[in-house]
């Protein structure tokens, strides 16, 4: 029986310029903290779903990431967030699209999965359920950062407006996510995002699309994506990775192959973290940059790109 594994990412984007070092240190700190918190939970007996939620809650609370606090703004200057969680047992899933004022959208997605007969709630209906379910609500201002405001101003200054491919062209760093295996061998995935700066009001990306930005099946594996949302959706990226793994392909190869297929079909770029049902992992990205961290067998690995692999032993 494979042991606990936690794999998280803080979003894919272009190779950052030197003056982004402070932000990159913050991203690394964030993904390491999230992975550690989730791993500790697993060792204490938490389920994969609990740990996947814990990891992404942690990332949502760090303002450096584009999820929860620090979410990018839509064209109207508001925060509208998407999130999802999927349990590899029985394909249970919960997702939320374009929800406002929720501090941790991944926890709302969990409530949808656990407390409703539905998979996806959006907009005002989602906000209504958020109030009923008891997740923490906050004034929108608490989620907005100076960085998000600047990113919106920059998009508005472009002559032709928003280009969704911009996510991997500039400093835009997208969605956060986690893929987890617990000590019983169960898999779970989670994902959360504020979306693209300057997106149309009500725009939903790949994150809450089961089979697009996220998928998880105990019988095969788990995949969570970040990057150009529309490209991810149109090519069913997470689904493709799971299908490739079901034919016996290793997670790294499955992720790389699916990303290349997406690039060829629709010219989109993305990053993805992958786990198979044996706990083997894949860290894949063709945008140049993706902060990530993994905890497995008391070994912490991390990097700022798919090729950047650093390791240290830790004791927990």
């Amino acid at each position: 029986m494979p042991g606990a594994v936690v794999l998280v990412h803080g979003g894919a984007g272009k190779i950052p310029k030197a003056n982004n070092d402070v932000d990159n240190q913050a991203r690394l700190y964030g993904v390491k903290s999230a992975a550690t918190a989730a791993y500790e939970a697993l060792l204490a007996g938490a389920s994969a779903v609990d740990a996947a939620e814990t990891a992404v809650r942690c990332l949502e609370d760090f303002p450096v990431f584009n999820a929860g606090v620090g979410s990018r703004l839509n064209l109207a200057g508001e925060v509208e967030m998407d999130a999802a969680i999927m349990d590899g047992r029985g394909l249970r899933a919960g997702a939320v699209g374009a929800v406002k004022n929720v501090k941790n959208p991944v926890s709302l997605a969990r409530k949808i999965m656990d407390l409703t007969p539905h998979v996806l709630l959006v907009g005002e209906g989602a906000s209504q359920f958020a109030q009923e379910s008891g997740v923490q609500l906050v004034p929108m201002q608490e989620l907005i950062t100076e960085k998000s405001r600047r990113a919106l101003a920059q998009v508005k200054s472009l002559p032709f407006g928003i280009d969704p491919k911009a996510e991997e062209e500039e400093e835009e760093h997208g969605t956060v996510g986690a893929a987890v295996m617990d000590t019983a061998g169960n898999l779970a995935t989670s994902i959360s995002t504020g979306g693209i700066s300057g997106k149309h009001v009500g725009r939903v990306g790949d994150s809450p699309i089961i089979g697009g930005g996220i998928y998880c099946d105990n019988m095969v594996g788990a995949a969570v994506a970040t990057g150009q949302g529309e490209s991810i959706i149109r090519t069913c990226l997470a689904n493709n990775i799971i299908q490739l793994m079901s034919t016996g392909m290793a997670p790294q190869q499955a992720g790389d192959s699916a990303l290349e297929t997406m690039r060829q079909r629709v010219s989109g770029l993305a990053g993805v973290i992958v786990l198979d049902r044996h706990g083997n992992s894949g860290i894949c990205c063709n945008t140049g940059h993706m902060s990530w961290a993994q905890l497995k067998d008391n070994e912490l690995s991390w990097g700022l790109s798919a090729d950047d692999r650093n390791t240290e032993e830790i004791s927990l």
Binding site: P117, H118, G125, Q128, V201, G202, I209, E230, R234
Partner: protein
Amino acid sequence: MPTEPVIIVHGGAVSGVHTYGSSEARVLGVQAAALAGWEKLKETGCALDAVEVAVCSLEDNPTFDAGTGSVLNQAGEIEMDAIIMDGKNLDTGAIACVQNIKNPVKLARKVMENTHHCLLVGKGANLFAEKVGISTVPLEELVTEISRQKLELCNGSYEDRCKHAFKASNVKKCVKHSDGEHDTVGAVAIDVHGNMAAATSTGGITAKMVGRVGDSPVIGAGCYCDNVSGGVSCTGHGESIMKVTLASRITMYIEEGLSAQEAAEKALDYMFNKTEGAGGVIAVSKTGEVGVHFTTGFMSWAFVKSGKLHYGWIPGENHTRAVE
């Protein structure tokens, strides 16, 4: 060499003996939609135009749970979902939980053609409708007496209603519980240039939570279309369809070498085994083969190919007549 054009539509997979509307109305409705799509295929030679016209026909027909005739959510309102997909380059437009729009599939097409996005929801989708000049209609124009009755007679939990509405081939058991059934609509076409398109539209399931989105507007779930494999539109228990990404599962099976019919059957079996959910699908492969399968009691469907109109409602049924 030009491809032989095909258009197929469905009017929803339903449980057992229906007490709302007639099977005749459903069959006439899908026939009219398929023929309208066929005329469009002949006129413009464009699969995308054909599926839009076919789905609009079904949305305007109060018999079906899409556009006019949409079922009501928990709050007694109508929230509609729709999607359209172009198999040529995977361009997609979808909307979810939009209100007071007569033809949601038209709005979905505008999302595809006028934005860089794939999916707009809720108030944002309605704002976009204003921006692109799609007018709203009063709720009363979309609500039917039958939709109201379905909501009023809804007792028991949503899960119970779904179990009865979508229990696979559970005709006898469903006689007493025929509320909650719904008739999502959809269409798939291949045109003379070999380009494919697919579309799905729905009002959802009676008494769904406000803001609930099912499979219909979700790419890969309620709809998928890719010139390299085929096009699919689905209907049935939305949450189950989403969990197994039913539409893209079917195109994947086709790519692996199964016929459209084999792929449809295998995918619905898979869905039942994994989730116990039931539904129906229509599929067209890139070579123009047609697949129709449903694991519920009934599904209205019709397609036009080689000068013939095919249609059915009961499992195994396949009537044909010539088309001019």
